[in-house]
Symmetry: C2
Subunit: 257 residues, 2 copies
């Protein structure tokens, strides 16, 4: 494997760069292609035995369709997208190569994968699965192996509901006309923590969160439950019934079976 | 002041105990009265120059009306409630004593007030304001002086919206049938943080949060904005329009003026 060439499409972005560094550390030759590098996809696919697609969700399928057909059966095609069902299907359809879907469950702000979880969805793998597992584990990643469908279902709560919840709170504060300097004077530890999360979503990469929320197959179910729950809570609050609100919370306590 | 007797009604609860410790550390005699100590309010009011009401929001007015009339003009009546407008009005009405409203902006889990913010609302104070300020500052508290109305308005975001947002997310997860052990395997740093906050609200003292949300004078406005915002977000998501969602986020970015 000493001569292995690895291509990362989107390898100049935050997450792509973390993986580029990891593979370079293994002594492999890494070719990164981004919007600014004059991407020649057929050339990359011919040169590289392993290709990783690390582009925004909205263009992932398109890039997979471009690169997939140029790869051979003994090659490996992977993606790093926050959703797994559609990208994995697209890879299986577009390419004869082995297919492995990955989702690093952390942001591009980390130094390396060490100590962080990566979801892996083996879709069509024979030769390459152990290689991928071994390298990621060697660098300290915690691997969570699952199906693309199960992954997307878990992300309905971990990403869709979670981010939707934070984004809604941020938008309400803006509508309210909140003054950040004033809020800081009155803040509580929990509010400070929430505000830091909301800031991250609005200032880091809003498009990514819009993608994650809009394109998950379970989003409609989350939206339905959100509206139903909010209207239920609003009902008891408008009645001024603290007892009924407390009972509602006690009945919906995740930590009580 | 060496002989000062201080009465804390609710002094066996978490927050009351922190203040009891603080005043005992000053060499004062502290009398705590709770539901289990056979509370004799008139006796306490006669013995103590300073009385602090630290009971659940729902019974604060009632306790203030019980203790207030027994206190003299040269005494000090304070409360530690999470709302300030109504409790301060109740103290001014019920008692001839000096009146100072406090809201410690932290939970009862802390060891002391050191490094934490306390909101103080001087309502009718002459002799006692400097005494209270000096002791709290001496113990490392950060004092945030404001009016009861301004306090409650800030808490509409810092407590009402913030807790409502977390509680709603927790209830939706329960309705979804979320499995905590499974979620842990797939979790992200942001989700882990949010989950810890939600757990605190549901398991620590649900009644307190139900009180804080239900009884704030600005809650109706928060509920109205919450429903409006959620329905706006739901609209763009259901159209599958990632671009419109991103634009919506960019237009409601609190960190961009």
């Amino acid at each position: 494997m000493e001569d292995l060439h690895i291509g990362i499409i989107g390898g100049t972005g935050g997450m792509g760069r973390i993986f580029a560094d990891l593979f370079r550390g293994e002594g492999y030759t890494v070719h990164c292609a981004g919007r600014t590098t004059g991407l020649d996809i057929p050339a990359m696919a011919k040169k590289c035995k392993v290709v990783i697609v690390s582009v925004p969700i909205g263009v992932t399928a398109e890039i997979i369709e471009e690169v997939g057909p140029f790869m051979r059966e003994d090659a490996l095609l992977m993606d790093l997208t926050s959703l797994k069902a559609e990208p994995v299907k697209a890879m299986l359809r577009a390419s004869p190569a082995e297919v492995l879907g990955l989702h690093p469950l952390f942001g591009p702000g980390v130094d390396s994968v060490a100590g962080h979880t990566i979801c892996i969805c083996p879709a069509r793998t024979e030769r390459w699965l152990d290689w991928a597992r071994d390298i990621l584990k060697k660098h300290g990643a915690i691997l969570m192996e699952t199906t693309p469908e199960r992954h997307d279902e878990m992300m309905a709560l971990i990403q869709v509901l979670n981010h939707l919840n934070s984004i809604t709170m941020g938008m309400i504060m803006k509508e309210w006309g909140a003054d950040l300097a004033e809020l800081e004077k009155f803040t509580t530890p929990i509010f400070t923590t929430k505000l830091a999360i909301i800031k991250e979503l609005f200032t880091n990469n809003p498009r990514l969160y819009a993608d994650i929320i809009t394109l998950n197959p379970y989003t409609d179910k989350i939206l339905e439950l959100y509206e139903k729950t909010l209207s239920e809570v609003t009902g008891v609050i408008k009645q001024g019934d603290v007892g009924a609100f407390t009972t509602l919370m006690e009945g919906r306590n995740l930590w009580k079976s």
